[in-house]
């Protein structure tokens, strides 16, 4: 893949990839932007290479996921070393309140419910419903087996139904 093609692909996937970065950063826009910059940096300097073993989108989402996890770890270690209060990227940090008033209460409810799920369940639901991937593609992004992704998907859906007060069939 030439540089021009790579750039065009990145540009095409950018809005979706940013949405995924937002999900990986628990709704923190600044952190998501930083993650996307780091992702583009590693793609541009060649430290992250697309080897065409999966679709471009699956690969890019995998890079975003790993970059966000790495940033989270770094922030956690830094907060431990400097003895500061937990950084907002730490795994147990609550979902940040949006500076702008939420236009949709359903979106707020959804974000809050997602925040209460286990990380794997949240990831698989986000990839399937938000990014319209199949469970198999989601498994590729998450780096788990398809069977494991299916289990997280079923459990996540059941938990979401309980959190959103949906008593009907799943």
């Amino acid at each position: 893949m030439t540089d021009v093609e790579l750039r065009a692909q990145l540009e095409r996937e950018h809005p979706e990839a940013f949405g995924w970065a937002l999900a990986c950063c628990r709704g923190q826009r600044d952190d998501a932007e930083e993650v996307m910059q780091s992702v583009y940096l590693s793609v541009l300097d060649g430290s992250a290479r697309f080897d065409e073993r999966s679709s471009f989108r699956t690969w890019l989402f995998g890079v975003v996921r790993l970059t966000a996890a790495s940033k989270r770890r770094t922030a956690w270690v830094r907060s431990l070393l400097l003895d500061r209060k937990a950084h907002r990227l730490t795994p147990d940090a609550p979902v940040a309140a949006d500076a702008h008033a939420e236009s949709s209460s359903r979106a707020v409810q959804l974000r809050a419910a997602l925040a209460r799920l286990a990380a794997r369940q949240r990831e698989v639901l986000q990839l399937v419903f938000y990014h319209e991937m199949t469970v198999e593609e989601a498994a590729g992004v998450m780096g788990v087996s398809v069977g494991s992704a299916r289990t997280h998907y079923a459990r996540g859906k059941a938990r979401m139904a309980a959190l959103l007060g949906h008593g009907g069939d799943l």
Partner: protein, 117 residues
């Protein structure tokens, strides 16, 4: 597809539309990333220069410091020196001549035919 899955899909679509409004443009994000690429080598140059300066300082500043401390040790005299004016011979008597031994007193009588007591 169940009713709940449809509802979830609708909610996620709303969330996606909301996020899309807030998303920064690709060109702005890529440009910031490219700026970081340019800054990185400069950082490496500064780090290398700092290491060089530190190494230089260690190599050239340390011997001078060691020399000064050696001088200070050589110049130092204990305060009790004044209490010991006596020289070594006067303190311990006349030293034995060279090649002499305390056993000489035993050996020489034996050579003259007398047994030592």
């Amino acid at each position: 597809v169940s009713d709940f899955e449809r509802e979830l899909a609708d909610r996620f679509a709303e969330l996606r539309a909301r996020d899309a409004v807030k998303a920064p443009s690709f060109s702005a994000t890529a440009q910031r990333a490219r700026r970081t690429v340019r800054v990185r080598p400069m950082r490496a140059v500064f780090a290398a220069a700092a290491v060089g300066v530190a190494a230089f300082a260690l190599c050239f500043a340390r011997p001078a410091k060691t020399l000064m401390s050696t001088d200070a040790i050589v110049a130092w005299r204990p305060a009790s020196d004044a209490l010991l004016p006596a020289t070594l011979p006067s303190a311990f008597g006349t030293p034995e001549p060279l090649n002499a031994s305390v056993l000489d007193a035993l050996i020489y009588p034996a050579q003259s035919g007398e047994l030592p007591r």
